[in-house]
Amino acid sequence: MLAIVIRRIPELILTFLLASILIFLLMHLAPGDPVQSALGAQAQPETVATMRHEYGLDRPLPIQYLAWLGGVARADLGRSILTREPVTTMLLDRAGPTAALALSSLVFFVVLSIPIGVVAARFRGRLPDRLAMVLTSLGLGIPNFLFGILLISWFSIRLGWLPISGYVSPLEDPVDAIRHLILPVITLTTFYVALTSRLVRASMIEVGRADFVRTARAKGLPERTVQNRHMFRVGLIPVVTSIAISAAYLLGGAIIVEEIFAIPGLGRLLFTAVTNRDFPLIQGIALVASLVFIVSSLIADLVIAWLDPRSRSE
């Protein structure tokens, strides 16, 4: 296991560095001056110049990048143009709600989509499978912002079962926190539940055709043993990477879900940053998302190594 971590780490660091260069370039090569647009068209040229100097924007791009990267290494992501607060502090303040939302979404969608996929594959072509396919195609077709609104209109407004919006920390009031998270989690995960359960289904059907499964059946093992001990483990291998990507991409969906349910997390912070063209903040959040992706792909590699001994010796 440790060997895998050691082998993968240089590669992941390289990817992360490239990602940081890309996000930096995309932010800085775009037309328009972020300081000018943050201060408004009426700002005095001197004010703009002072602020450009303060944010190092008058220096050559490579120097700016290295300065920023040096800061990143010390967990210093610069200062927000709008609030002048350190970006790191702003991110940490907002990380809690997003972490609560993303982690509960991850648990929810993994726990839900694997059984759906396995059951659909097992009853391929029959009622449970058909039902799963229809529901998943609806899940893939309905955008999260529409689904969120419909959930609110039904469960919060019409039935009054759940709060319309807002966030309560699980540390303060766990029960109320869960009540506030139910609809956002469903909204955020519907697409990924649909996607992953279809992948699980396809993968289990594929594994069902493998020689070792036929052998297992031929030697008279009960179907339950074949399914649980032989097919399940192998069938999950191709799904793990996709789950890891989905887990990281939940942060993207969080922008919309946090906006709909008024959750004060990183997604809303990014949204405010974008409407104000606050580039150090945008950069910081994008970098965090990239880091989450890289960490979750490392975890996926470890899970695959655990499921599939062949991958350990590669």
Binding site: I23, G32, P143, L146, A248, Y249, G252, L270, R277, I282
Partner: protein, 294 residues
């Protein structure tokens, strides 16, 4: 008048003379979901293209006296909060959604395919260099990257297309590279190289035709993703700006009415869902046609 006693059966008793493509077409037409999807998309495209000619209602003309009126004869899908005709706005919004999706998929498909072709064919350092950049770009969640890019590009139709093109290039590049590497190992490629064919000839005449089917299906899938992504940006208010009608923007305007007039947000909502599910049905059917299993 005597009938010829000998009849010669000229039809061949062997396999029917149908090409692979006509067989595939028949298989596709047997999939009622895909056919339905095609009809819906065709209607949407025709309405979008003919919108300026049809002129049955102005999507921008406001009428403060009749805000949020339910469907009636004069306004078949009702009016919005500014008294504008919802049907007209849906048609004009569809123009934006479909045009953005088509442009995005085409441009990112072409750029991504070129990158993937070169990386997959050249291998070695070129491959690692190009694909590392694609991997790095891929670490950003797509909608997050699109939103971040909108922050620097500023809200406009062109920005939406540019942002989404950047977001979808890596997916096309990865697919094209994977397919190119499979084709590269084929005997006809070895033969081509042995005969001294130039790389660009090999890529365009031998590799591209063999990977284009998969890439086209990828394209239809991404068409649906782009429709959702564009609507998401408009819904957040950072995409194409009002008063230009967009499906996402209309939904955002209709949001305050979810408690009282649910039909109103449902109009743009259903347009998006109908469009996305139709495209998904089409791409599922296409995938079945060339898929390895089945």
């Amino acid at each position: 008048m005597s009938a010829n006693p000998i009849r010669i059966d000229r039809s061949t008793p062997t396999a029917p003379q149908t090409s692979l493509w006509s067989r595939r077409l028949r298989m596709f037409l047997r999939d009622w979901g895909a056919v339905l999807g095609c009809i819906v998309i065709a209607v949407m495209v025709v309405l979008a293209v003919l919108a300026p000619v049809l002129r049955f209602a102005d999507p921008l003309s406001m009428n403060p006296l009749s805000p949020v009126q339910p469907p009636s004869w004069s306004h078949p899908l009702g009016t919005d909060s500014f008294g504008r005709d919802i049907l007209a706005r849906l048609i004009w919004g569809g123009r934006i959604s479909l045009a953005v999706a088509a442009t995005t998929v085409l441009v990112s498909g072409v750029i991504g395919t070129l990158i993937g072709l070169v990386a997959g064919y050249a291998g070695g350092a070129v491959d690692s260099f190009l694909m590392r950049i694609m991997d790095a770009l891929f670490t950003f969640p797509s909608i997050l990257l699109a939103v971040a890019l909108m922050g620097v590009l500023g809200p406009s139709l062109l920005s939406v297309v540019v942002a989404l093109v950047i977001v979808y290039i890596p997916s096309f590049a990865r697919q094209a590279r994977a397919e190119t590497r499979i084709v590269r190992r084929m005997d006809y490629m070895t033969a081509g190289i042995a005969l001294g064919a130039q790389p660009h000839r090999l890529l365009l005449r031998h590799v591209l035709p063999n990977i284009s089917a998969t890439l086209l299906i990828r394209g239809t899938t991404f068409f649906a993703f782009t429709i959702v992504a564009e609507s998401s940006l408009s819904f957040l208010g950072i995409g194409v700006q009002p008063p230009t009608p967009t499906w996402g923007g209309m939904l955002a305007e209709a949001r305050p009415y979810i408690a009282t007039k649910l039909w109103y947000p449902l109009m743009p909502g259903m347009a998006i869902v109908l469009c996305v599910i139709s495209i998904n049905l089409i791409s599922d059917a296409l995938l079945d046609l060339i898929g390895p299993s089945k």
